[in-house]
């Protein structure tokens, strides 16, 4: 297998895996963020 293909396969495996893993982690972090700062209706419409 020449260098060109090694580069291509490395990029494909690490790129696809890295993108999927990063976005999964990001989705978990967003979930946590939502838990830490939950939505409260009164916050959206504060009483005057």
């Amino acid at each position: 297998m020449n260098d060109q293909w090694i580069f291509g396969l490395t990029m494909t495996i690490v790129g696809m895996g890295g993108t999927l893993l990063s976005l999964w982690l990001l989705s978990v972090l967003i979930g946590l963020l939502k838990k830490v700062f939950p939505y409260h209706k009164e916050h959206a419409h504060p009483k005057r």
Binding site: W24, G31, K34
Partner: protein, 380 residues
Amino acid sequence: MLWESVLTALGGLGAGVTQLTLPHIFMILIGCALLYLGIGRGIEPLLFVPIGFGAILVNIPLAALMEEGGFLRTLYNMGIITELFPILIFIGIGAMTDFGPLLENPRILLLGAAGQFGIFLTLLLALGLGYTPLESLAIGIIGACDGPTAIYVTSTYAPHLLGSVSVAAYSYMSLVPIIQPPIMRALTTEREKKIMMHTVKKSVSRNTKILFPVLVTLFTALVAPLGVPLMGALMLGNLMKESGVVERLANTSANEIANIVTLLLGLTIGATMEANQFLTVRTLGIFALGFIAITLDTAMGVLFGKLMCFATGGRVNPLIGAAGISAFPMSARVVQTVGFEYNKKGHLLMHAMGANTGGQIGSVMAAAIMLSIVGGMGLI
């Protein structure tokens, strides 16, 4: 004596005609075709009008607009070489984008990852066709369906392909409503197309919306630091929008700055379409591979949607996977239209919007990861 002087002067006036070659004429016709697409057919007019005119300008012999000191060369050096134009565009995109539907259902971000797989598969195809590794990266990124990202990556890896990659990216983005539906129909069953998804509630706090862009930027900085300029710009725009305290800046980013940079970016992309660089068999290859990239992205998104459908016990309609690309909001509308054909009561738009904004983040993340891998391998 006077007669000779007049003849010499006339010779100077007609020099452009004598220097005009068939490739120049062909490229000027291509510029005119882009103008027709933009003006006559309304296809991506904001980009195709300046690109088309730039292509005409740069192929006028002796005008020397792309020589050192020419105004197109100055713009190119100022905005493309420095990568400033795509970054400024990203601030505007961030200021225009509502990530609310994505924040409501963060799992949908995975579709934004699957929608980028075509980039990497196309890269392999490009390598197989004899393009160099860096050229292959630039070609693969057409699959991101994201003009500024494609321009950013191409200007870094393969600036000589900038014209063809950019025109291919914007052309296929505008063809999303034609390219995607047959793939979506072919890869899903009748039952899957009819799946109803629960209504998205607006239940994201303001704090979450404000902290989201900061979180994404810091996360990108840790995972793929070379992608921070792109992601940081996108998230800065979004932070300004969501904070609500710098409305003038957010509006300026989304309107004036985005408009001015779009004009300059279009012109400079057109300026890279010089006959001797653009009229090659490789350009045709780039267009063919770009089409394959977007097709593969759509297919991978829908297939991942099917996986999510299976994993959630049939609660996810796989059609929304097609919106995991960055063509926003066109792709989400396509999903809504196709879904509505099969189930008049099912409204997929908000879910598709979530996947589509996920695709925007996904495309930037994929580019960031590519940059970091290539940086790690010492290729740039």
